[in-house]
């Protein structure tokens, strides 16, 4: 899906836990997620901390979306 949307001209950020698979399938902007059963959060954290964590992932993804890349890039920080 990442590749098809990008082919139509829209940049895509792939937020995923297993970034090596994202690299294998050819995503260009990759943001690491938390874990396979809960990619976008961490249920073991207190609510407030989890909210902050979720926001951080979304902000990182938005930043990645607006960053020029020359090849496949994993946005670690």
């Amino acid at each position: 899906m990442v590749k098809e949307i990008e082919r139509s001209g829209l940049p895509v950020v792939h937020v995923c836990t297993v970034t090596p698979i994202s690299m294998t399938v050819g995503a260009n902007r990759i943001v690491p997620a938390i874990a396979i059963p809960h990619p976008l959060g961490n249920p073991s954290l207190p609510k407030e901390e989890e909210k902050a964590l979720r926001r951080k992932i979304v902000e990182k993804a938005l930043k990645a979306l607006t960053t020029e890349v020359t090849g496949q890039t994993v946005f670690k920080d």
Binding site: T17, V18, I21, T24, P32, A35, I36
Partner: protein
Amino acid sequence: MKLELGKLTIRDIRFSEESKISEGILYVSKEDLRRVALTEEKIKSADFDIARPGESVRITPVKDVVEPRVKTEGPGGIFPGFIAGVDTVGSGKTLALKGMAVVTTGPIVNFQEGVIDMSGPGADYTPFSKLLNLCVICEPVDNCEKHQYESALRMAGLKIASFVAGLGKDIAPEETETFETPDLLTGMKAFPELPRVAYVQMLQSQGLLHDTYVYGVDAKKILPTVLYPTESMDGAILSGNCVSACDKNPTYIHENNPIVEDLFKQHGKTINFVAHVITNENVFLADKERSSNQTAKLCKMLGLDAVIISEEGFGNPDTDLIMNCKKIEAEGIKTVIVTDEYAGRDGKSQSLADADKAADALVTAGNANQLVRLPKLDKVIGTMDYISKIAGSSDKALQSDGSIEVEIQVITGATSEVGFHTLSAR
């Protein structure tokens, strides 16, 4: 480390007043079995049944399959960390009851368990249709959490297998096979000309009841480590998972791992079988990276020339598999990987979720998405209530004539990734 594995073939199982083994027949008292099962406080009731090869019987939902074994000499006991203490096992003498198994059933998570058919086309897809199966059917107490039910049923299976094996403790085995692994230095001196080979076994450890245990430790919490290959024969590794039952290793397969046995057959002839390395398949990327790094490090430390790597499961563990393969190959060690495929019902989709050029030697155990039609059988041990929910089935599975159309994914052991069953490809 040397283990003498004695084998006693069980020719039939019968319910009886008294529990004993006589002339190759296992007699069991339901009362004795119930007493053992009910030591698990989360189990409300336990019933038992016997399924024989060729009978028109379907067992479902299957949780685990266990071969009864007992230590007759030497340190420790079978299933260390659960049934016995945590002494290192794998030496001395062990007695295995061959030709039979203890099969636990219960709708724990209902889509996570498997199917064993004792006859018909389904029987060809499972290695466990060839055994006399003592089935354990347990109901949980009210308000029992799923993970408590899983643990209780797992323990009940192990306890009943140990109880049954104990009945054979004083009977001389019909045959004995000896397995011996020298320590590293002795092995190196004894076989200087032979390639040094190890087995790297990946253990399912994704959590949410997809777990494996090593000496009582949840495998998701281990760093990769090295075992003598005989340790798993004494139950050092055991199963706590069965979802997509085709390619999970029930405890029976850990006790009888064919990769371990085949490497032993070649030991001292074509290879020097150095060690059994175990690692896990966790759900955090850092865990995957750490475990594959440590696995490659151990292979390097052991001075290996080649390894066989087996996966357990599919999907994201494909990445663990490829990481292990790539990193071990990068140390100059040859690898062969053993896996199965999820290539779609037509077999045309990509088989694994991940790939790499280093993975150029692969053995497949078949396509888990392959559809099969299983006829209605006369008797069900367990319940058919969840047959359309089991992973690999669907709400269209049940046909008007009572047969079911399902992927072989639902069948326990069908695409065993340690090659325990017969499917493969060229």
